[in-house]
Every structure is written in C-alpha cells, then in structure tokens.
Symmetry: C2
Subunit: 359 residues, 2 copies
C-alpha cells in the first residue's frame, strides 16, 4: 500500500531525495564513509554547502544584495535573533498578527524590549482571513515589519505582500518557502525552518539584505549575531551538516523539476483539487476564508469531533497519515507541501469521498 504523508512538519521529503540519501548513506559517492561523518571543513562538505547556497540563490533569484545563511534553532530562535539584531533604539517594531507564529514572534520582541505597532489583528476573526493587505499603511519610522507568510494552524496564506516602503519587511516563510515564486527584493529578511518544504528539522534558512546585520549592537552574543554567520559563511561553528546535505538534494530536485514556477503550478493544482472537493461537499467544511486560503495547509472540519476522529483513523488505515488538525484548533488538516505528490491528494479525495459515503 502506498503511504502518503500529510504531516504539517517535519513533513514528507521527495522520494528521489530519500532514495539517493539512502543509497549513499554509508558510503558517500565512493569515499568509504558517510557524509554524516564528514568534517564541516572538508572539501566534500564544502562542495555541498556551496551547492546548497547556489541552488537557493538560483531558485529564488537572489542577488548579491542578500546573504544566504544556514543556521539552527528553527523559526522560534529567529523570533529572538531578529529583534536582537535589527531593532533600532527609539523605533517601534511592526507586526501583523495572523496566528500563533506571528504572535509568538511578537512575544519575543516584547521580551527584548521592543515597543510593538500592531498593524493587523487577525485574532478578532479567529485568524480566518488575512484581509485588505493592499490597503495596509506601514508607518515609515518602524525598525522593521514582521509577517508570517503562511499560517499552518489556521490554513491561511498571504496572497500578496504588504507594501512596506523603506521599512524592511521580515517574513517567516517556514511553511511556504520555495512553494511559490516570490520576489526576494521585496523583503529585508526571510527566514524558514527547513522541515516543511526544503529539508529535515534542525536547519533554518535565513536570507538577509546585506545592510541589516550591521545594525546589531555589540552586547549580542557571537552565535546570535547574523554578522557572525555572514562573515564565516555559515561555518562559524559546526553547522547541521547532514540537514544541509539533504537541503542540497531537495533543491537539486526542485531545479530538476522546473524550479519554483513549476512547483507553484503543481501546488495550486493540488490545493484547488482539495478545496473544490470540500466546497462541493455538504459534509466537509473549510475553515479559512476562501480569499485567504493556504495552498500548503488545507484545514477542514467534519460534522462532529467524533466523525473527525474516525476520519483521521480511517485515513491512516488507508495509508494517509498526519491528517489531524493542530491541537490549538482541532479538526483536520492536510499539509500538501512540495514533496506531497498529486497522486497523494487524489488518493485523499477518494478516501474522503469513501468516508462520507459510509457515514
């Protein structure tokens, strides 16, 4: 039985990537040992991290105005590192609250002494939508503006990005990085935990405009300064080498399959299939406002919590795993990141139809 993985993260990885990593796990390309055992200063690993950065730059069309960093600690550590590095004395920090992750980021900025300017408060509508983005006015004296581009828990996603003018736009793209074409030049800083679309847990991608790390005061510890990692090209200390190796393979796979434009088309097709099915159903019900729907995390409810529980079990028995919604909101959620194939979504629709027919 084919198994399809709808986990919200850590999540499915492309099957060709897994097979390649498996085949060379104990003996990397004839060197006689595994890449997981290789020194981060050795030429074999240097080739990998160089290729990983080149792939990221190529996929996202990143120019020399930006640094590409491979860090640790996930988005949660970025919630602290970003204010530590790019807050400015006497300047407020802007936030758009579209769910748990922007909220957590705001909490850390407050701990670090930032005064917050809340430009958008999605909590008022239970985070069902991200509304009127094009009409948001961004005060030009903010140190930066923080957004979360895709909200895994509520299944919403920015369909466009705010016009922040001269204010650096900081985006947490943990759950939709490389799932669609974005113009990096619109942003001051983009960060993403790798474990949804681009690699395993334990690796954080940071793309930062070159002027921003210079803001960091010298009271910030060395490891928490972006400038440290810029200077050492992500090799200040031992980086998560195996995770970077997997990211390199995933980005190779993305390039081999047409890059982000192709990926965006497939992701739109997958999401449309699922939302259309839900919209036509009087049994399943989507929770996010249609205009704000995520193409990564499709959140839906059934007529009762008991039926939701039964559905998650029935799907699991049919080889579809990870369909339980986040504990904060309940319900069901299908995370359909890059590595979830179209056939996985088609199979999900069959199982959903079958479950409904049996109820």
């Amino acid at each position: 039985m084919a198994v399809y993985n709808f986990n919200a993260g850590p999540a499915a990885l492309p099957k060709p990537v897994l097979l390649q990593a498996q085949s060379e796990f104990v003996d990397y390309r004839g060197c006689g040992y595994g890449i997981i055992e290789e020194s981060h200063r050795a030429p074999l690993f240097e080739e990998i991290i160089t290729a990983a950065e080149a792939n990221v730059r190529r996929l996202l069309s990143i120019d020399d105005d930006y640094e590409v960093l491979f860090l640790q600690g996930g988005a949660s550590l970025q919630f602290a590192m970003i204010p530590m590095n790019i807050m400015l004395p006497g300047r407020r920090v802007g936030f758009c609250d579209t769910g748990e992750w922007s909220n957590k980021a705001m909490k850390e900025a407050k701990i670090l002494g930032a005064e917050i300017d809340l430009l958008y408060d999605g909590a008022q509508e239970s985070y069902r939508r991200i509304d009127g983005i094009s009409s948001w006015t961004v005060p030009q004296d903010l140190a930066y503006l923080h957004i979360c581009s895709n909200n895994t828990i509520y299944g919403t996603q920015y369909q466009e990005f705010p016009q922040s003018g001269a204010v650096p736009l900081v985006a947490d793209m943990s759950s939709d990085i490389m799932s669609r074409v974005v113009d990096v030049n619109r942003f001051g800083l983009i960060f993403a935990g790798a474990q949804k679309n681009i690699g395993p847990a334990g690796l954080t991608l940071v793309i930062v405009r070159k002027d921003l790390p210079e803001r960091c005061p010298n009271t910030v510890p060395t490891m928490l300064r972006f400038a440290t990692h810029v200077k050492s090209k992500s090799l200040f200390n031992t980086p998560p080498t195996f995770a970077i190796y997997i990211l390199r393979l995933v980005t190779d796979w993305l390039l081999d399959n047409g890059g982000l434009a192709a990926m965006q088309r497939i992701n739109e097709e997958k999401a449309a299939l699922l939302y259309d099915f839900i919209d036509r159903s009087d049994f399943y019900r989507g929770t996010a406002d249609p205009a704000s729907r995520s193409r990564m995390n499709v959140c839906f409810r059934l007529p009762s919590e008991e039926l939701e529980k039964q559905f998650v079990s029935a799907a699991k028995a049919a080889g579809l795993i990870g369909l339980k919604g986040h504990r904060a909101v309940g319900g069901c959620r299908a995370s359909i990141y890059n590595a979830v194939p179209l056939e996985g979504v088609q199979r999900l629709l069959e199982v959903m139809a079958d479950f409904q027919a049996r109820c």
Copy 2:
C-alpha cells in the same frame, strides 16, 4: 580498502548504527515513510526521544535531580545560553582556560556582562598541560565554574575534575562525553555537541541540575531559557528529530557493548597503543604533556611541516582520513572517538611505521 575516519568532528559513527539507519531510511520499521519525515509530536518519534533520554540516563547513571535536554546550536550557543541562564547578580563567574573552547566561552560570558575569575591559565604553557587540578582552590562565591573537559585542538584532557564545593561545576564535554565513566553528581551542568561521540552535528546534549534553570531572569528570550526546554521536554519547538534518532541508535549501541566502563577500557587501549608508539619513535613527537594527554585526540608532530603534509596525504591514500591537525596549531591529529575501532588505530600504526621507514 577499509576506510578509517579520524575526523575531529563531525566524526565517525558506529558502522552498525549507519547500516541500521540506512536500512530503515526510506521506510522506518514498516510505517511506509522515513523517520526523517515524521512529526515530532507523533508516537513514533515520541518513542525515540523517550528512549534516547532513558539511554543517556542509564549510560551516565543520571538521577532525578537532573534534567536531560536535546537542544540545537552546539557548544557555541551554550557559551551564551549558560551565562544568560545561570549567572547571578554581583557574583563572578569562574573559568579554567585550557584552550580555544574555554576561551571562547569566557568571551561570551564577558559580552553578557560577567566578571571573570580566571582560576587556571593554560595559555602560559601553550595549553600543553592541565596542571595541579587537585590543588585548585575554587572561591565559594562564584556563580559557577566553567571547564572544558577535553581539548580537541591541543590534545589535553582533565584526568580528574576540580573540587568545586558548593559552586556548580559546568563542563563542556563536547569531545569526550560518554567516552569514559564520569560522576554526573559532581557537576551542575554538562553540555556536549553530539557530533564527536554520540551523534551527528546539529544536536546538543545538556544535562542540568534541576535548581539551576530557576536562576534565569525573565529578560531572556524563551528559546534561550533552559526552563522552556525542561517544561516542554525538549519539544517546545521542532527539535532536530533525525539527529535525536541517530543519538538513540548510538546510545543503544553503547549499551549493547557494555556501556561506558567498557568504552573507557577500549578508548584507553586505543590511546595507549598510539601514545606508546609515538613515545618509542624518534620520528613522531607527541605535543601534549604526558600527564594531561587526551584519550580522544592524539596530537603529534613530524620532523617538518613538509613531512606532515606528506604523511597526511599518504595516510589518506591508505584509507585513513582526517589526520590533519587543527589550523590553529598545525601538525597531525588522530581523533579516536568511541566509533573508531581498535583496528583503525592498528592500521594507523602500520601506516605511521611504513611512512617513517620510507623517509
């Protein structure tokens, strides 16, 4: 040709661990997908992290007075996290400087405002020895005392630990954790990057006495507080799941092979073979003082830098990799962590004898 890996870190992993991880890489124990793709909240991963902690506790005889945490960022992030969490207002922090890593830790404590009490200054003798430990007097008003138990660059190792009395002893055991029996109750906090003796890069083991995280002021960001990770059992955010899985396999392997007492005997045997050979030679010369020698990192010189370069190349051609010394000191270094088998050391001696004979 058998290849033996003498890298200083990331380093050799036990072959049975690599083979098992390879065999279940794409399909973990029949679940139909890889553990690298599994949610950190799923029962399959819960079993792994629970077993990993239990293994660490059993191997090091850790009792309920201590927490065992799986973090990210390596020893370098601990250099900042530790003072952030356990400094005390108006109390100095003690350091014993035995090389680059204790030095870097001291630098971070200073950035964070600590006043330093340097109890031992190994720089005066180029870090060749760690001297008179039993006679060190530890002022009882220190917030804590920081040491580095094994110094990879200089090839020295604490043969005993200082008597710190009521002062919490903090030990960076990145390069000798689980290579020998230690009494955890002597320490307030032990930390170790996993990438030398217990797993891949990207995972940091922290063992901390339960009272210490309570010292942390509320100005410290959530991710950088030990208390956060204690409360959530290392699942506050997505941990490096695959690295924890490998650590679980490595600790299974350690238990299957007699635990740390057995490992210590083998490590002593390996180190003795190598040091005895060097001591009998008039060609190779050990750099560390014999009384302070590391059983993990054997540092040695040849008559000239040119010969050292030739030796490293000849050894590589013979399947022995990673023998170049750290760039800070030059020379040669054989890192003989737990996963480097006795046969690897025997083979190294053959190659060393052969190289000498040809010179």
